[in-house]
């Protein structure tokens, strides 16, 4: 894409593009990118690795820095990294590219999304022997994430991180409300009564007690609900998503708690994702509940804040909803090329060894040599919630579940109504159950 495009080339490309668009029934945008613009750069040669990911913002710049380390170490390989839109659009394009026979060599995939990709045979398993030959053994990874990436004993993905739902807190406001201990950390919260007390104290000092966004972002309400519901010991789906086992008393307990937060104005949820970040970054909110990936933004805003694991609100179980970015190898139309696999594993290993860069964006590295390193332990506030990686709760396995999936969209849309006090817990439970039943009874496409 670096070649300059003059008028003639533009006309040629546009003409060719129009023909392909027509030929592909308007579905060929990415084929145009890789098939028409890049051949002069040598896409088909063995010296180009195509790597797809969905990382933007802070994550995107960290990943680019990590890629550059690889590029400097392997100047003979051209690493072609393509960034696509997060969530469903990314996974749709990835599945179609694999099925159409023009997949990338390596792709980032959420661990929770493997359930839609492994059963239909879209991914190539890793060989543990080959991994070991490239310096990666099972003992080098967070065990939970590594084992979750196994299907029928085959290693389908290599985890890069664990990224849980956490609690951010504004140290200035929390100190004002008398909530910090001598080391400047929020005193441990246990149980819903203690959390309510903390929020009310924050309210009494004039702060917005807690911020958690929901507008056009159904994933975040789902993360909040699933964290609390898992702490209460509830399960959502069984039999790979064919059966809904949503537990009415437990779900209602959680929904009533969220509803109480809305009623007492202890939670400001009338925000979209950017609005949530802006509200906490402005320094007027005490707590902010979201995945840990916004740490960069708040550091850049010079906000007095810190982070910790999401507190145990129900029971003593401090489970937190989480997911992992993983590396997967899409099935190649011509079968596996050993030389190419070597190049891919070298790339993965190089990126994993850069995990400290990745960790600075908030994610807990899955690569234990970094996770256990002194450098990471010193990385604050990122390493405060490091142990959550071992008790992370992943979305229940189903073809329609996982990050940005229909499960999150259907359930999250319902929960958001409770967060702004627009629907009652009982109504929300019924619609959530109905939505899940609708998904569970659809015939599985995988």
């Amino acid at each position: 894409m670096t070649d300059t495009i003059n008028r003639r080339r533009f006309i040629t490309l546009a003409g060719a593009g129009a023909t392909v668009l027509a030929a592909a029934g308007c579905g060929g945008t990415y084929d145009i990118a890789s098939g028409f613009v890049s051949p002069s750069a040598g896409t088909s040669g063995h010296d180009t690795l195509v790597y797809w990911n969905l990382l933007t913002g802070g994550d995107g710049s960290h990943m680019t820095a990590m890629e550059d380390v690889y590029r400097r170490a392997h100047p003979n390989v051209s690493l072609d990294a393509t960034v696509l839109d997060w969530g469903n659009p990314y996974y749709t394009k990835l599945a179609m590219a694999i099925r159409a026979g023009s997949p990338p060599d390596l792709a980032i995939m959420h661990l929770s999304r493997l359930n839609g990709f492994v059963p239909p045979g879209l991914l190539e398993p890793y060989d543990l022997g080959e991994m070991a030959a490239h310096g990666m053994t099972p003992a080098d990874f967070t065990p939970l994430a590594f084992h979750k990436a196994q299907f029928n004993g085959r290693q389908m993905a290599i985890p890069l991180d664990t990224h849980p739902f956490v609690q951010y807190f504004n140290t200035k406001l929390c100190r004002k409300a008398g909530l910090l201990d001598s080391s400047g950390m929020l005193r441990p919260i246990s149980g819903s009564a203690q959390l309510l007390t903390v929020l009310r104290k924050l309210k009494s000092v004039g702060a917005t007690p807690a911020v958690c966004d929901q507008i056009n972002d159904p994933a975040t309400p789902w993360r909040l609900f699933y964290t609390l519901y898992s702490q209460a010991g509830g399960r959502v789906l069984a039999d790979q998503g064919k059966r809904v086992v949503l537990d009415r008393p437990r779900a209602l307990q959680v929904l009533r708690f969220i509803s109480q937060l809305a009623r007492e104005k202890l939670l400001n949820a009338d925000l979209d994702a950017n609005g949530g970040v802006a509200a906490f970054a402005s320094g007027t909110a005490g707590l902010y509940w979201e995945g840990e990936w916004n740490v960069d933004t708040f550091q850049a805003a010079k906000l007095p804040f810190s982070m910790q694991a999401f507190p145990p609100v129900f029971g003593s179980n401090d489970a937190a909803q989480a997911d992992s970015h993983t590396f997967v190898m899409p099935i190649q139309p011509g079968g596996r090329d050993p030389e190419r696999t070597t190049a891919i594993l070298t790339l993965v290993h190089t990126l994993l060894t850069q995990s400290i860069t990745w960790a600075s964006g908030g994610h807990i590295p899955a690569w234990l040599p970094v996770r256990h390193s002194a450098a990471y332990q010193k990385l604050k506030p990122e390493s405060n919630y490091e142990s959550v990686a071992d008790r992370a709760v992943y979305d229940p396995p189903a073809w329609y579940s996982g990050s940005g999936s229909n499960l999150e969209n259907y359930a999250g849309g319902v929960i958001s109504g409770v967060m702004i006090g627009a629907s009652s817990p009982e109504e929300a439970y019924d619609s959530m159950h109905g939505a899940l039943e609708n998904l569970a009874t659809q015939s599985s496409p995988v």
Partner: protein, 310 residues
């Protein structure tokens, strides 16, 4: 822009005389062949494939057609409340947007047509948004609707009104999409009306003016009846365009919040491409197709009746 191309019965295509040499016919066929090939490949073939796939549980991520399921997809579709609510959103969008997109550009066209100077400016101004790609329109309006720092919120705040949740309220979001669509596509209908107005012979107005008819009477008694056919055309084109609503919704809300803006095509996209249930999505798109075809035939019937009446 001075001549309008409107359906007319005045032009009749002469039938070929019997005994015309066959060579001429094959040359004609050669001329239409490129179109026919494209038409067959990209319209008829996909349609047939969609009909076939709607009878199978075809998956996006599995090779082949999948298993034969007969009419099961249709059965599931008719009982699927998510499909019907998305169909309702399409219908509601059409019912709200069509009158606005017919009446407003008609008024604009008449107002502009009656101006002697600077017509080109108004034509350009009204038509300009129409040439923008949907992605640009979506970005512009997402920023303008943005809670907190969007310009619309700013204006509402300045006027001392509380800003409603343009894209976050389940009862308002669809109307916000209507506003975007009106702004974006009003120019097309405006140009059609302007062309229709230019077709009306000037003498009629001169005669009416000599008889002392006021401007309003001229509009009511000359312009409106003479524009009848254009109004029908614009209305039906608009109904069909509104039934096909997708881009703005996909780009601005993806069907949210809580599916309150999920229109039929968004539902078809979600089930076909996101959930990978291509067979089921084909059944859904055929139902939408039938609905649009029925509306098309109603149009034909309407136009025929109008033409017989004129």
């Amino acid at each position: 822009m001075s001549t309008a191309t409107l359906p007319s019965t005045a032009v009749r295509i002469r039938r070929p005389r019997p005994g015309r040499p066959r060579a001429g016919r094959s040359v004609g066929l050669g001329f239409v062949a490129p179109f026919l090939i494209f038409y067959a490949l990209f319209l008829l073939l996909p349609l047939v494939l969609a009909i076939v796939m709607s009878l199978f549980n075809t998956s996006l991520v599995l090779p082949g057609l999948g298993h034969w399921v007969g009419l099961h997809n249709y059965g599931e579709l008719f009982g699927d409340s998510y499909f019907w609510s998305s169909m309702w959103h399409t219908v509601l969008f059409t019912l709200v947007s069509t009158p606005v997109l017919v009446i407003v550009p008609l008024c604009f066209a008449i107002a502009v047509y009656r101006r002697r100077h600077g017509q080109w400016f108004y034509r350009l101004a009204f038509f300009m948004p129409y040439i923008l790609p949907s992605a640009v329109v979506a970005l512009l309006w997402t920023w303008m609707y943005e809670p907190g720092y969007g310009i619309i919120d700013g204006v509402f705040g300045f006027l001392g009104l509380g800003a409603p949740g343009w894209l976050s309220s389940t009862s308002l979001a669809l109307y916000s999409i209507v506003i975007v669509t009106v702004w974006w596509t009003i120019g097309f209908n405006f140009i059609l009306f302007l062309a229709g107005l230019q077709e009306i012979p000037q003498e009629l107005y001169e005669a009416a003016a000599m008889d002392g008819a006021s401007g309003w009477t001229q509009i009511r008694r000359i312009t409106m009846p003479m524009l009848g056919r254009t109004i029908t055309l614009v209305t039906v084109l608009q109904v069909i365009a509104s039934m096909k609503i997708f881009d703005q919704v996909y780009l601005i809300t993806s069907g949210g919040p809580d599916f309150s803006t999920r229109v039929a095509l968004e539902y078809i996209y979600d089930t076909g491409f996101t959930s990978g249930r291509v067979g089921y999505a084909s059944a859904a798109s055929l139902v939408l197709f039938v609905v649009i075809v029925v509306i098309g035939f109603l149009w034909l019937a309407l136009v025929r009746r109008q033409e017989q009446g004129v």
